[in-house]
Symmetry: C2
Subunit: 240 residues, 2 copies
């Protein structure tokens, strides 16, 4: 039993591929999408064309499964020059709805670490994606009660993090962010002088990829797994 | 110039059809959708079938333009038994993107009232819909700087309002909500003991409709237009 007083530290966690598997859901769906379309067109261009559509639509649609579904429909019509039958568009809509209903599979260690940390720190989920989808994933994860706040945001840049800290009465020096994306979870957080912890996931969506080199001189910590976070935070608080 | 101290009152505004026109964008798009489909099917059932699809999809998709677009695609395939050509599905996707890019047209009085109130009260936008879409509409409205917070929520029930008040350090007695939906902006707010102000809009989406009778005994105030809000708030603060 932990009788220490609660720390003032605010600890943010990215959700997708930090707390639970997500990218593989997109990868599996893309595989089904390719299988559907390979009857109609050259298979090798499908993935690239879908990616281009997704990136072009980001400014309109933002992130998440609904945006991805709309981009799959658009790509399918585009690649088949409109010849794709309605029943196959329906299959694409079903793929999207299945993604929204998919079980939430926690990453190793998460089920132990989050409850442990919740007794000691203020915890937040900070994630992009569809509002309702991310909220229901937090609920379905069984971890909802351990987080003081769930913030679904449309982008993760420095302005977003500054706004969140202000809203929750925290200073950059009292904030730690843990996530798998160098671009979204590490760089903007380190730049504003907060503590950024990178826990790589084995696959990353191309749009989130970033070389360590591109990070330049910003300081951050890389851990192999979430199980290392409690000891890291304890060292941080002891000024080690 | 107003030299009074800033009030502690937190004033929430619904966005769609309270600050700017929205329902007519959906109505116009539905009209285009009917025009597209009437070549393929009985026109009289189109609207009803789209509404049924939207309501069935609410649990998966939540609110907003992306959900509406996906429901239009699904309804079009359903009503044509899959015979709708890809090029027409593309037209539906275009309708959705045009909605996301549509100009933000403020309701009468809003451009004067919001800056006036911002000098005196803490203001919030509290709205459902797509996260990115609602955020960019606040920005495009030119009113963004006048609001202390913009909260896009997946539902507007009592629990949502209670969570928001807690996060922003307000009590129900110090909160006023202004909006056009009895179901979303008035009933849950009045039930938790805060002040609810209803400003009717001339059309309401069927799913948001509610009889005054169904409200039962909860107290609320009905104003004709947003221009009446400053005087209402002044009377409220003077205990009149």
């Amino acid at each position: 039993m932990n009788s220490r007083p609660r720390s003032d530290l605010l600890v943010g966690f990215d959700a997708d591929d930090t707390l639970w598997h997500n990218e593989r859901l997109f990868t599996d769906t893309q595989e089904r999408f390719r299988a559907l379309l390979r009857r109609h067109c050259e298979e090798t261009i499908i993935e690239q064309r879908l990616y281009e559509t997704e990136v072009r639509n980001l400014a309109h649609y933002g992130y998440g499964v609904k945006a991805f579904t709309l981009s799959m429909v658009e790509t399918a019509i585009d690649l088949t020059e409109g010849a794709i039958p309605g029943a196959e568009i329906n299959e694409i809509l079903d793929m999207g709805r299945e993604m929204l209903r998919a079980p939430v599979e926690l990453l190793d260690g998460v089920a132990d670490v989050i409850p442990t940390l919740a007794g000691r720190y203020r915890l937040m989920v900070i994630t992009k994606g569809d509002l309702l989808d991310q909220e229901t994933k937090v609920a379905r994860s069984g971890l909802g009660d351990h987080f003081d706040f769930v913030e679904v945001v449309s982008r993760k840049d420095r302005g977003t993090y500054e706004r969140l800290l202000e809203a929750h009465g925290a200073r950059p020096g009292g904030f730690v962010m843990v996530g798998n994306s160098l671009r979204s979870d590490v760089l903007p957080v380190a730049e504003m002088g907060a503590v950024a912890v990178h826990i790589p996931y084995h696959t990353t969506w191309a749009h989130e990829e970033m070389d360590d080199q591109a990070l330049g001189e910003v300081p951050f910590t890389r851990l192999e797994r979430i199980a290392e976070v409690p000891a890291f935070l304890a060292r941080l608080e002891n000024g080690a």
